[in-house]
Amino acid sequence: MLIEAKHIQKTYKNSRGIRVEAVKDASLRLEEGQTVGLLGSSGSGKSTIGQMLVGQFPPDRGEILYRGQPLKYPYRGAERREIQILYQHPEVSFNPRLTLYSSMIEPYRLMKRRVDREVLIEDIRQFGLYAEHLDRFPGELSGGELQRAALARILVMEPRMIVLDEPTSMLDVISQAQVIQILRRVQETHHTGYLFITHNETLCKAFSQRVYTISEGVVSER
């Protein structure tokens, strides 16, 4: 078992100061090399679950086990590196003031891996990105290009598990298929586990092996 959430619950205050129980009761499991769908409409609490798994904030109740050990917030060391997330909006997933090159080399530095332009060009080719893209700012790249770059960036950390928070809902169908194709290929070679959060039932079924549904903060398995 890669990751397991046991009866996690989360309440937060919204902008008007009203307490909202975003996640009431969520239990889910994910094995290595597996894609598990989390299907729900907007406001169902699906993104909040993703945020908790990735260590943005801890659940109020319940616990999250990673390789059998309870995760403590904030995540440190291997678990910080091994659990990553891909967000819905690629255009705000990059610092707008940095060129793609500056953004891309950062995870290499964090991993203390040697990196230069040549290494980077070689690594990003399989994501459909080229040397010309490296000197551009995020505003000069398409949504599909940015989302593939965002994926390339987190993969440098050699994650064991990635939370995919609606990664293709802002993309056109061809870009969507390309991102999914890359995700599948990565999973085959690295045996990465995916939690695929989406509102799109057809897409969820086409991409996931198992599907959880979430409605009003309660998760159930199909």
Binding site: S41, S142, E145, A177, H199
Partner: protein
């Protein structure tokens, strides 16, 4: 009837991205046309250019005939009378098109006050009927609400109601389903189907929405139209390799990637077909000249494959 003839849009400031080249399209009365294309293909710019809503840096040529009158030749003051009255524009992103400080009822009824001379009270009352037509539910309550109190899908439906309020015959809509989830998209689809008297031109990147709403499908890529076909014909027998790739990439068709990644260089600078770098059927001819728009029994396509 709305007739768009050879519309060209270029921006003096930015590069070629977002431009429109030689766009021609006929919208029959009470027809629904959906324009699909990825972001940056020029589809939204085209929509804005029709009502001359683009910034001053845009150079627009061509003509747009509405009942024999060329909108591009009208004075700004004359065009103002047409906007919201005979042609309505529903901007992208649902809520952003609504004034956050005005109650829903007043906003939906506003075109009636402006173009039909309704007093405020009567316009707000009429907005209840309008919202009911698009099944907002509890309309009497919602007209007193401010935009932020509605969900994204409800705001989008309110925008549609506002668009048809003054009895506009032509509705232009930009990405009406962007950012909405499946259930809400379905509701918006129903709203658009509800428009029986109006002529619709809708821009989207959502292929399911296009299939559900459009009677005529237009595909745009890098400022050019690639294919124009009736709905059934398009989805059963797409001609352009790009259209074929779009349909194959749909989740229900297996998310297949049949074309390459977009090239990093500027495709606008190439002499040939702008899609040729990604096209699996590329021949030498494709790189030499832009293919003409070919008409095959009402199914138009811009591809050298069908030239002979």
């Amino acid at each position: 009837m709305l007739e768009i003839k050879d519309v060209n849009v270029h921006f003096s400031s930015a590069g070629a991205v977002g431009a429109v080249e030689d766009f021609s399209l006929t919208l029959e009365p009470r027809s629904k046309t959906v324009l699909i294309g990825e972001s940056g293909s020029g589809k939204s710019v085209l929509l804005l250019s029709l009502l001359r809503l683009l910034p001053a840096t845009a150079q627009i040529t061509g003509s747009v005939l509405l009942g024999g009158v060329d909108l591009f030749r009208l004075k700004e003051s004359e065009l103002e009378k047409i906007r919201g009255d005979r042609i309505s524009y529903i901007p992208q992103g649902g809520g952003n098109g609504l004034n956050p400080l005005l109650k829903i009822g007043l906003q939906v009824g506003e075109p009636l006050m402006e173009h039909r001379g309704y007093p405020k009270k009567k316009a707000v009352e009429a907005s209840i009927q309008l919202l009911r037509r698009f099944r907002l539910g509890r309309e009497e309550t919602w007209i007193k609400a401010y935009p932020h109190m509605l969900s994204g899908g409800m705001r989008q439906r309110a925008m549609i109601a506002m668009g048809v309020a003054a009895g506009s015959r032509v509705i232009l809509a930009d990405e009406p389903t962007k950012g909405l989830d499946s259930d809400r998209i379905q509701r918006v689809v129903e709203c658009f189907r509800e428009l029986r008297e109006e002529t619709l031109l809708c821009v989207t990147h959502d292929i399911h929405f296009a299939q559900a709403v459009g009677q005529q499908i237009v595909v745009m890529y890098a400022a050019q139209q690639l294919e124009i076909a009736p709905n059934g014909e398009f989805f059963a027998n797409p001609l352009h390799p790009y259209s074929q790739a779009i349909l194959r990439a749909m989740p229900e068709n297996g998310l297949e990637c049949s074309v390459g990644f977009a090239p990093p260089h500027d495709v606008y600078a190439s002499r040939g077909c702008r899609f040729s770098d990604r096209c699996p059927y590329k021949t030498p001819r494709c790189e030499e000249a832009v293919p003409p728009m070919l008409d095959r029994n009402g199914h138009k396509v811009r591809c050298w494959k069908y030239a002979d």
